[in-house]
Amino acid sequence: MSKQIPLAPGLFTWPSDEPALLGGRCGSCGYVAFPFREHCLACGLPEMAEVELPRRGRLWTFTTQQFRPPAPPYAGADTVESFVPYGVGYIELPQACKVESRLTVSDPAQLSIGQEMELAIVPFGVTSDGQPTVTFAFRPV
């Protein structure tokens, strides 16, 4: 079995049984951002330290992506014909921030604001040398 490669380094802990998104917390003002960034957007200081974000949170809002995004930049392994719509939303992670993410569910009837969601690492595409890639998403608990 070939190894699953994260879509980009530094996005989430991987491989892991309990993966977590990797964000940054400002040592000066406490502001939390995802992905990690060096300078704090709230106070401007270069005091961000990498932190694992909570794996569970609540759905703050959502929509669905019904058409295949223009490629590039989109790099999904699907084609216009095989594209499967996906959900997109913001998840409120307690004491951290709201994170924009794909959702494993795209049927709006199965989504509601305030419902509990959990991080999932899902298959995404393949690298240029044929390795399967994974990305992050949130799924209803």
Partner: protein
Amino acid sequence: MDVAIVGVGLHPFGRYEGKSALQMGADAVREALADAGADWRDVQCAFAGSMEITNPEAIVGLLGLTGIPAHAVLNGCATGNTSLTMAAQSIASGEHDLAIAIGLDKHPRGAFAADPSVSGLPGWYGEAGMFLTTHFFGMKITRYMHDHGVSAATLAKVAAKNFRNGAANPRAWRRKPISEAEILGSTVVNHPLTQFMYCSPDEGAAAVLLCRADQAHKYTDKPVYLRASALRSRRLGAFELLSPSLPLESVPSPTVDASRAAYEQAGIGPEDVHVAQLQDTDAGSEVIHMAENGFCKDGEQEVWLAEGRTEIGGLLPVNTDGGLIANGEPVGASGLRQIYEIVTQLRGRAGARQVLGNPKVGYAHLYGAPGTAAVAILST
């Protein structure tokens, strides 16, 4: 120095194969000059905005090489307002007597595609299918509907109104009324927004000729005065496009900030406005912008739309020329199309779509990526 608008011109928005954006811009400028009875050689400076054309100021090569300062302007969806404001400032400062703001654009079909690095975002954000503006509008209206009890039927009413206004506007791109049922039943693009609730990128141009207020009567017996113009970018915590994360605490959008600043500058309140142009990238945006610009409270859109208060003939007609939904969005020109329409309404020249009762105050609002808003207030 007060500033007056004395001429407006439009190259109708749409699709024009074989015609360049600069040619469309030149047509719009010539129309604005003719409207004011002015000549190109009288114009003392120009501000030309475009997203696709990197040198829109090259339009002087089509209009006449008079040696005037000609500037290129680009400020995303607020470009039209920035061109207008810079032209107005060149007059208000006393530097020039007659200046022109021009917008022109020619976008390819389909959703906007670019590398996330142009917005300072990491590459994976685009690879994962997140570097898109359309899904933001779906997410913003989903939250808004949840918080304030706005229904999908109201979104359909907004789009139907704008198509109906477009049908009454001989220069609109989309001139066919579309029923609320057909709008609700069209393909979902980003839940709950359907195909007919979104505007599309297209092509076109607009131009606005401005002069010192004390010279306005040389050009027109119906000058329209620019009372306020305000531009704001997003503050930390505003829910804006292209944000991989947001803080838990929310603050109002830049539209609220720009709107309040413009009302203060003008000494005019939302209750004084007779006709408005609000950025309708999608029907949900128009609904939200009604409240963000102070015209109603959050949630009141439901009764406003049910009672037709934003129709031509209503309490506050909104997007009387069909807005972006019926005209599309050539980004560099869109804000000046709004000014063209407001001036046309305030002069009583809008024909079948004329707002009754002699409107005296008009309001124009722009909003776009990555969280920029601009408001202009005009009056007779």
